[in-house]
Symmetry: C2
Subunit: 331 residues, 2 copies
């Protein structure tokens, strides 16, 4: 037997963004059909302070593998010039429990999964024509979110705002170089979103950056930054004004997402949350019913997204002959 | 950067049994000193039935690594002629969160850790002279337990009993071939333990195999098979009669070990459990105070044992140049 080891470089050659979007669509369908089996998870808080290690397991019926995923967030890593968070996925055979692949993705799978979820939320909730898209944030998430969206839609103009002018500048330059895209740098979040048909928030902000007053009727918002109760990107009045609110996973949104803050502030009730992305994909909930509605997708990230992407990456790597094989008669 | 991948074959060339015993001794000391940090764990129950995947994390202050360990118990694996349980350990740098080694040990680390704990329990609780040792069980645990004990003590005669005559026969033959050892096959558990100075129980029995009446004064018992509430090797009257009872980890013994059954049956009180193996090693509890006392070590297995063995294995592999390196500029 052998174990296939794939690094980030190789992973980037396996799954394309359109493939990731298709896979993640099937993941949310599986979630809506309760085909995700007993996922477990724990967090190892490192005593030094802000670092933490999240470990989660998932198994999806109809897929012959289960996954154990480790996400490490280490603030010190930045100082050591190493990527953070680093991500790592183990793939096991569901019928024997034997490890068949190790994906050392340094967080790339997490980016893919979030980008794909953003594209799907936009596909099902945003208006058909996107003249202007606002991007709040200029990091890796902001990059993959916009890139994923462009797989699905053509965009007239992108207006980007970020806290660091240097990062925003390099973000804009990279987007122009990689894609045939009109991009402008906005002087403020307000200026970025005022005329936007779709807004992506992809920061690690702990204070709300966007207010309801600034929003154009009919705008769709993909809020992807907040995955912890301490994080917040949308002022609660955004959710108060929104006609449609969906979560990728309701319990997570209520515990850690933008929904969490709006519920806590008492400006929305649980009944105002329409449902989950999987329900929307399956047509169980209506989503947008009028072009002027403001819609919000609260995307906190669900492990089933990793499961399908990791499985697909492994299968494509086997097909393409990528990765390194660790062989052993005993392995 | 690079990731070191070690398979079972290579692992067997790294850590010797005496080294494992020394490492596990330090692990129990660390446990007694509360140096084990916030271990997390979860179990992924596979929907097919009896298979399960246990994942646990541990970090020990003063060791620059943390560990995520996956133990998979798959009953189907036997049918596929694959080892079960299979074990796998990921080693990460504690200051950066980056993965540095993957140990695909197929359960070998679990064997080592248990063997070492057994040898230590015997070192601190058994009488100095071991004319006769009884082994109940003939599997891999029974093998490593006896082998570990022999690193510490010379043994006059070993009497082995197991449910399968075929397995017992091959166990005895292997022990004679590998070591200069007198071994006899006992017709019953009673015959095996009647004259024994030390008893090892290493089965997966769900019913008690040993009774208090059969025991010689002064015997020490290492009960290593029971790590689940459904498993039991000692009749509760053994613990009732024992003068000294220790656990590797008290809460585990009370939840899943032999102690669990004796407490449930009401034949002992929590006050009759002297303490933990780490307390014994550190001299915080007395252990055996008379040669005629019957002593019991309830060993359920603690993740800190894996942590030190995995760390040692990785460091020795690096020193010896063993294993396969998966290199990548991005890894």
């Amino acid at each position: 037997m052998s174990l296939l080891v794939l690094n980030e470089d190789e992973l980037r050659q396996t799954v394309t963004l359109p493939e990731a979007i298709t896979a993640v669509e099937s993941a949310f369908t599986a979630l809506a059909e309760n085909r995700l089996h007993r996922p477990g998870h724990f967090t190892l808080d490192m005593p030094e302070g802000k670092s933490k290690v999240e470990v989660e397991g998932s198994y999806l019926s109809q897929i012959p593998y289960y996954i154990i995923r480790v996400n490490s967030s280490f603030h010190q890593a930045y100082q050591l010039d190493l990527p953070s968070p680093s991500g790592l996925t183990l793939v096991f055979e569901a019928n024997s429990g034997h490890p068949i692949a190790l994906l050392v993705d340094n967080g790339y799978i997490s980016q893919l999964r979030a980008g794909a979820a953003g594209a799907l939320a936009a596909r099902y909730l945003a208006n058909p024509t996107l003249n202007r898209v606002a991007v709040i944030g200029s990091g890796r998430q902001a990059y993959i979110q916009l890139k994923s969206l462009m797989m699905d839609r053509s965009i007239g103009l992108v207006s980007v705002w970020g806290r660091s002018p240097l990062h925003v500048d390099s973000y804009a330059r990279r987007m122009v170089e990689d894609h045939d895209l009109n991009i402008e740098i906005a002087p403020s979040p307000e200026a970025a979103v005022r005329l936007a048909d779709l807004v992506i928030t992809a920061t690690s902000s702990q204070e709300p950056l966007l207010k309801a007053d600034w929003l154009k009727p009919g705008v769709h918002i993909n809020a992807v930054g907040s995955n912890h109760p301490d994080k917040q990107e949308l002022h609660v009045d955004v959710l108060q004004r929104a006609e449609v609110i969906i979560a990728d996973k309701l319990d997570q949104g209520m515990a850690a997402g933008e929904i969490h803050h709006a519920l806590n502030a008492g400006v929305i009730t649980p009944q105002q949350i329409q449902g989950e992305l999987g329900d929307l994909i399956k047509g169980k909930i209506p989503g947008r019913t009028h072009p002027d509605q403001i819609t919000v997708a609260d995307l906190t990230g669900v492990e089933v997204q990793d499961t399908v992407i990791a499985t697909l990456a492994m299968e494509k790597a086997l097909f393409l002959g990528l990765g390194q094989r660790v062989e052993s008669p005993l392995l």
